[in-house]
Each structure stands twice: as structure tokens, then as C-alpha cells.
Amino acid sequence: MRKVFVDVIVKYTKEGQKIPITVIWGDGRRYSVDRVLDVRPAASLKAGGCGIRYICRVHGKETTLWLEDDRWFVEAK
């Protein structure tokens, strides 16, 4: 597993929450986040990192996004 930082379009709610809307891959492919299923602080042992973990449904599949110090990353194969 590799740690890959990605661009993310984020909605800031008026309560101050950050909700990822679209993940933009390095090659420009865009994936819209259907729904955020779970948000909690967590470590990523596979990619090596620590921050807020977002479990999301993207195109019907469960994916994990991490927010670490204002940067977003995913665990890539």
C-alpha cells in the first residue's frame, strides 16, 4: 500500500464540518463521493499516517480517505 496525496473538493458546513465532495486523482480522473459513512480520528497503518478518517461510498464502493494536517490522502495499491 502506498500513501497517495490527492486533491479533494470539500464542503465546509456552517457548523464547521468538512465533507469531501469530489476526489481528484493525480491523472485528473474525478470521483464524486456519494455519501460519508463514518468520520473519526484514526491511524492508517497500511499507508503510514494519522489524522481524521472518512469512510465514504464512492461509485457504490466503500473507500477510505484521510485528512492529515490539511492534506488528504488515500491508501493506494
Binding site: M1, R40, A42, A43, S44, L45, G48, G49, C50
Partner: protein, 417 residues
């Protein structure tokens, strides 16, 4: 009421953080070491694999490599460690506001008042252990007891990723067989004295007659005896209460040995600049200057002398430190480390004893130093330098920003009697 104290120790802290961020070295022996080129090349932390090869904290890299040729050496990343340290404290603070850090990787927690909400000490410790593991990806070992000393000893008994409970009923089985050196404040010279009279374990110390200990160690003897018996009553301080500053100091191991007064003078100025800047930042003045000298054979001495009045100006501190240095050091050995510290502190705008023969220059020097601080805060530390420091650039450094992990004393207040 019976207190419930936790002592939480992040296991192999520096090495664990490095292994979290570099999954490829996770299953190899890893040691976090300072830079060899600046002669900070000692093992600061190691993981469990390195430990199994006998690699010890504090030994030089070559010695560690001779025990474990495949050792992966990584450089420390202090800002990352400080981030993890404060993330861990955030987790502790979910359970209590009484969190007292002891160094970067250890904390005491007083959860007496929280047991009604979250369950007994062991339950809280287990929750903290799990949360640290899941949220930070590193492990912690926690000691649960009714005083800070036993909690600290407990956190060392089983690790990593474990909880140990020391109660009034089991401390004789769990604490007393431990070697006396494990106890806080039993260093090399105290342990030598104790071992000479046949005190080798904490249990021996606890059962020693009171008169023997105080004749051997003075009032510290009674205190250690109280520690060994679980009579320590020291409170866990609130996290918000910053400990009272009792001294301000910096020390530095140089990249090459110092061989003459001139070089020592340069380093003393580097250190005094930092000490002065920090005194001024905290609005403190001091009246005693202490210096620490470690020779290249690793022996070390400390000497101090009083100033004529309270000061926070760099040049007064530095000149006094140079004077002490010249008086005590005969250059029979070269110098590896120098430290400058100012103690006997008062707040800077406090009333001061005026001198009969006032020195106008000291006010000018204060204003000058404050102007320099302002310039440095805008343009960086190296924007204004003393000409003296140009004579040997390799000795220059900025301890204010580059040397920020400070040792912590166990007693924040002076001991009563």
C-alpha cells in the same frame, strides 16, 4: 478518598512514530539517531526488533551497528513527535483535566473524579490504550495505582501495549522486587550508596530503618523511603497550570571539541543569546549564572556564581559565564558540551534593589537586547549576529528554535523541609 492515578508511557516513542510513517521499515530493527556529522550520533530511541539485538538508548551508532549490522538508522523529526505528543494529551484530556506531562512521551493522569463517569482506573486505562492504538497508530503502556510513583513503576512492568494495576494489596509482590535504580531520583551515586549498605531492591529500601536512610542520604533518604512504601502524596497538576519556571538554560554538544578559551567564549555567547532571549520572552530576570561543562571523556562539572544584580541581558550573562569558565577550566581536557543556565529568577518588572553606584550601561544594554529581539522576530534569528560569532561559523546555532524539548522536574514546587 483513595486516589486513582495513571501513568501513561508511549512505547519506543520516536521509533514508533517513524515506523508508523515508514511501513517498509516496520519489520526491521530501527534506531532513531542524531546526526553523526554534528556528533549527536547516539541512539535516541529504538524499536522492539533493535532492542532484541541489545541496542541501547544513548549508545553511539557504531556500537549499535556492531551489535546489529542490519540496523536501519533514521533521523529524528521532532515536530512530528511534538504533534503526536499533543494528540496523545488530547486523548488523555477526554477523561480528566488533571494531566501532567513528564517529558515528551510520558504523562500522569489523576482520574479519581472520573471513575464515576467512565468506570474504574483499569477500565479507563484500557480505553486510553485502545484509543491511542486506533487513533494514533502507536502503542502505550499504562500503570494504574494510588500514587504517582507506583503508577510510573507500573507502566514499566509490562510493555508494549499493556495495562498494569498496582494496588495497596499487591504492591509488595509487584514493586518491591524491582531494582532500587528503577525508582525516580535513584541515580548512579545514590544507588552506589544504597548498594553499599545492602539495599538492592525497592523492598529493601522500604524496609530499611529510617535513621539509616537519613544518615546516608539526608532528607532525600526519607523521601525515597516514602516513595518505596507508597506514601507519596504529590498531586498531579492541571494541564493548564504551566509549571513555574525556576531556571532558564541551554546546552549544546558541539560538532567538534572545543580546545581554547576563544572557542568556548563563542559557544557561551551562542547559548547566552538564547538564554537571554528566553528570559526576556518570559519577562524574567535572574541573579545566578550556572555553567555545565562536559569534557571529551564524558566527565562533567557544574559551577555557578552570582551576578551583582538581576539581569536578562545577553552580555552580562555571557561575561559572567566566561568568567566562571576561565576560573574552573584548565584545558587539561577538551570540551564536548557547554551549558549556560540562569537561576534565582524574579519577574523583570518587580521591585529591585538599586545599586549605590548604578551602571547606566546596563539600561542601554537592556534596550539594545530588546531591539535585537524585535529584529529577530521579524527577520529571523540569523538576521542580526554578534561579530564574535563570525569567527567560527560552525559553532553558531539557534537554540531558541532548534533545541526545544526541555527536561521536566518531578517536583514543580520546592520541597517543604
Amino acid at each position: 478518598m483513595k486516589r486513582v492515578i495513571l501513568h501513561s508511557d508511549l512505547n519506543n516513542f520516536y521509533a514508533s512514530v517513524e515506523c508508523l510513517y515508514n511501513p517498509e521499515i516496520r519489520n526491521k530493527p530501527v534506531a532513531v539517531c542524531g546526526s553523526q556529522s554534528t556528533r549527536h550520533g547516539i541512539v535516541l530511541a529504538k524499536n522492539l526488533y533493535a532492542k532484541s539485538y541489545g541496542v541501547k538508548t544513548g549508545e553511539p551508532i557504531w556500537q549499535a551497528r556492531s551489535k546489529c549490522p542490519k540496523l536501519v538508522v533514521v533521523r529524528p523529526n521532532y515536530s512530528q513527535y511534538l504533534r503526536f505528543s499533543s494528540l496523545a494529551i488530547d486523548i488523555y484530556r477526554r477523561y480528566t483535566n488533571l494531566v501532567e506531562p513528564f517529558g515528551i512521551d510520558e504523562c500522569w493522569l489523576d482520574v479519581t473524579e472520573s471513575t464515576g463517569l467512565f468506570g474504574d482506573g483499569e477500565t479507563i486505562a484500557e480505553r486510553i490504550r485502545n484509543e491511542i492504538k486506533n487513533e494514533l497508530g502507536i502503542t502505550v503502556s499504562i500503570g494504574v495505582s494510588y500514587n504517582k510513583i507506583f503508577a510510573k513503576l507500573g507502566s514499566d512492568i509490562k510493555k508494549p501495549d499493556a495495562v498494569t494495576v498496582i494496588t495497596r494489596e499487591n504492591f509488595r509482590q509487584k514493586i518491591w522486587p524491582l531494582p532500587v535504580e528503577d525508582l525516580l531520583y535513584v541515580g548512579r551515586s545514590t544507588s552506589e550508596k544504597l548498594r553499599k549498605v545492602g539495599i538492592c531492591t525497592i523492598g529493601d529500601l522500604a524496609e530499611a530503618p529510617g535513621g539509616l536512610l537519613s544518615s546516608l542520604l539526608g532528607k532525600w533518604g526519607e523521601m525515597l523511603w516514602a516513595f518505596a512504601n507508597g506514601y507519596d502524596q504529590t498531586p498531579v497538576s492541571k494541564f493548564e497550570d504551566k509549571p513555574l519556571i525556576k531556571s532558564v538554560g541551554n546546552s549544546l554538544t558541539t560538532s567538534k571539541d572545543l580546545v581554547c578559551d576563544d572557542e568556548a567564549r563563542i559557544l557561551i555567547y551562542v547559548l547566552s543569546e538564547s538564554v537571554g532571549e528566553r528570559l526576556r520572552k518570559h519577562n524574567l530576570k535572574g541573579r545566578t549564572v550556572q555553567i555545565t561543562i562536559r569534557a571529551n571523556d564524558l566527565t562533567f562539572i557544574e559551577r555557578q556564581a552570582p551576578l551583582s544584580s538581576y539581569t536578562f541581558t545577553t552580555s552580562e550573562i555571557a561575561e559572567k559565564a566566561c568568567e566562571i569558565f576561565r576560573n574552573v577550566w584548565d584545558w587539561s581536557k577538551n570540551v564536548r558540551l557547554l551549558g549556560v543556565r540562569v537561576t534565582n529568577l524574579v519577574t523583570a518588572d518587580d521591585y529591585v534593589q538599586l545599586s549605590l553606584f548604578p551602571d547606566d550601561r546596563s539600561i542601554k544594554r537592556e534596550l539594545l537586547d530588546k531591539s535585537i529581539d524585535k529584529i529577530r522576530s521579524r527577520f529571523g534569528h540569523y538576521s542580526v549576529q554578534r561579530a564574535l560569532l563570525l569567527r567560527d561559523r560552525s559553532l553558531n546555532a539557534n537554540p531558541v528554535e532548534e533545541n526545544v524539548i526541555h527536561p521536566v522536574p518531578y517536583f514543580n514546587q520546592p520541597l517543604s523541609n
